[in-house]
Symmetry: C2
Subunit: 338 residues, 2 copies
């Protein structure tokens, strides 16, 4: 049996409550006894029991991380590790632990979230995605449970939730304008799963830019694919078999771009000579493609870091009201555009 607070109390000749207060470093205990108690703790090798604390406290010092149901696929993308790294850093700084969702289907995940919330397993939740018909967020709102969203709420009043996001609309618009500036008019768009809000924002930005420039939208230039890897390749086939091939491509994701580049190489289409490419995220390996890809750095790490900051804030001061943080993005020009 592990050593408990009572053992320490006995050893230091005080009551358990005193020991507890020493742990909390309460000012109500004199320095002298504090010292004595601390010594006893050392001698006995005492470590507080986490569950007992949580039970009494009604708080766990743990944050839940909820990943998209397609975690299977999602994890293929360095976006998630990187955002978790940001979360992890801040969480550690503030003394919070991380609890990971493991479910695969939407129902499984909702069930898990319910357990986290009702079971008091975590103090707050970071949602790593915003999808269109999501049930998790409404649940959390209804329960008035602290959470932050990485992404943007959809079909829900923005003032009702705290979220951290990029301005994906603007990013996509800028990128499109950039391509037009380089002289492109036939610009293809390879988007991700349309269930994700980010995809929608990208597309809107793209469309807006074209409309502003009085370039008619062509539906056959717009392709969506769920799978990050094959998706990129399939999309290329689709787009390149159009008679009037696009001369530039906007790709939703760097990893997809690897597939796109790969496929283009197989087709003997040269980048950037024959076709220009821009994508989003700037994950670590993006600068390792050939040619090096031009991409929008969305500062993934910051997304995680900021989100965690907001979340912890919200946990500590529940009445503080919702916040909205936009992490800036930046176009990284490399070699895939001309």
């Amino acid at each position: 049996m592990a050593v408990t607070i009572k053992d320490v109390a006995k050893r230091a000749n005080v009551a358990p409550s005193t020991v507890s207060r020493v742990i909390a470093n309460s000012s109500r205990i004199s320095e002298k006894t504090k010292e004595r108690v601390r010594e006893a703790m050392k001698e006995l090798g005492y470590h507080p029991n986490f569950n007992a604390r949580s039970l009494a406290n009604k708080s766990t010092n743990t944050l839940g991380i909820v990943m998209p149901n397609s975690a299977k696929i999602a994890f293929q993308n360095p976006f998630f590790p990187e955002v978790i790294r940001g979360i992890s850093t801040k969480a550690y700084q503030e003394g919070y632990g991380l609890y990971l969702s493991t479910g695969q289907t939407e129902e499984e995940i909702l069930e898990e979230v319910k357990q986290m919330v009702y079971g008091g397993r975590v103090d707050g939740i970071v949602l790593l995605y915003s999808r269109v018909n999501d049930k998790v967020m409404p649940f959390l709102i209804e329960q008035d449970f602290p959470f932050v969203l990485i992404g943007r709420p959809y079909n829900i009043d923005e003032n009702e939730v705290t979220f951290v996001n990029n301005d994906n609309f603007k990013a996509a618009k800028t990128v499109t304008e950039y391509l037009m500036l380089l002289g492109h008019e036939r610009i293809g768009f390879i988007g991700g799963n349309l269930d994700y809000v980010v995809t929608i924002d990208h597309m809107k930005g793209y469309e807006q830019a074209l409309t502003n420039a009085h370039i008619p939208l062509r539906q056959d230039y717009i392709v969506h694919h769920e799978e990050v890897k094959e998706g990129g390749q399939d999309a290329v086939i689709e787009l390149m078999s159009i008679e009037e091939r696009p001369t530039a491509l906007i790709v939703a994701d760097d990893i997809m771009t690897f597939g796109v580049l790969r496929m283009l190489a197989d087709m003997n289409v040269h980048v950037p000579k024959d076709i220009s490419i821009v994508s989003f995220n700037n994950v670590m390996i993006s600068e390792l493609s050939s040619p090096k890809m031009t991409t929008v750095d969305i500062h993934i790490y910051e997304l995680g870091f900021e989100a965690t900051k907001c979340l912890i804030n919200k946990i500590k001061e529940p009445d503080i009201g919702e916040r909205k943080v936009i992490v800036p993005h930046r176009l990284i020009k490399r070699e895939s555009c001309k």
Copy 2:
């Protein structure tokens, strides 16, 4: 205040203990009252409190995942997401949750592990690395705490720990032999951080193969780098400035290979015409390099899955003794060798 077991008890006109037994589906309760209690739970929207359960049970149904201290760097590598995916899948199947370590330095991590163990925060631990002078594993052994290692113990009797690993020695040996079979004799080796056991095993295998073939070892053909990304590039510079350039390269890691390919391209060295490359892991995007890389598939997902299986086994039957699982590897021949 959330609804507790007492509320349910009152509602169903039974004692709390009965409710508890219904939750555990004890055979000591009649079907009739079980039904009644279940109904009451439904009506009240009851969900058991996780911490209370854990406290009473002395078990949390949670597994700890401990990542290398260089998580900062590590997470850049798709190895970790993928192994976690394997862990996650099995954990979910068995009703376990996942708790993630967040520390960055070795001391921080050791401290965290101590908290997990002493604090009863997790029932078992998956160690995602085996490094040379590791303090975590000795601690876990000393505490007789259930854990499995992904990798291989070093400086510790293999019979004392359960671990899941590839035969990295053999993999490296095979790869080297494969290159020799293709006619190469000047084979360079770009290894990872020498603190990791996998690096040592790779090197040993490489050396053994050369020795068997009576090819003298050249220290200047062996380069080690910590950083997965820049490392690859630095290493190439080192190796390619040797007068007698190697004609083939063994690279520790697919992501590193991206850097290597990138750098080689910059140097106008053609792969595989001028130099052949083999690497390890076969992460998802490896087939998206140009040229597609030849690599050893180490079945990362299975590593995680099997490790979790072993761990849960160990938790449920502590006296079962240590196990050792070797996950097979497979050379995936693509286009980077000639």
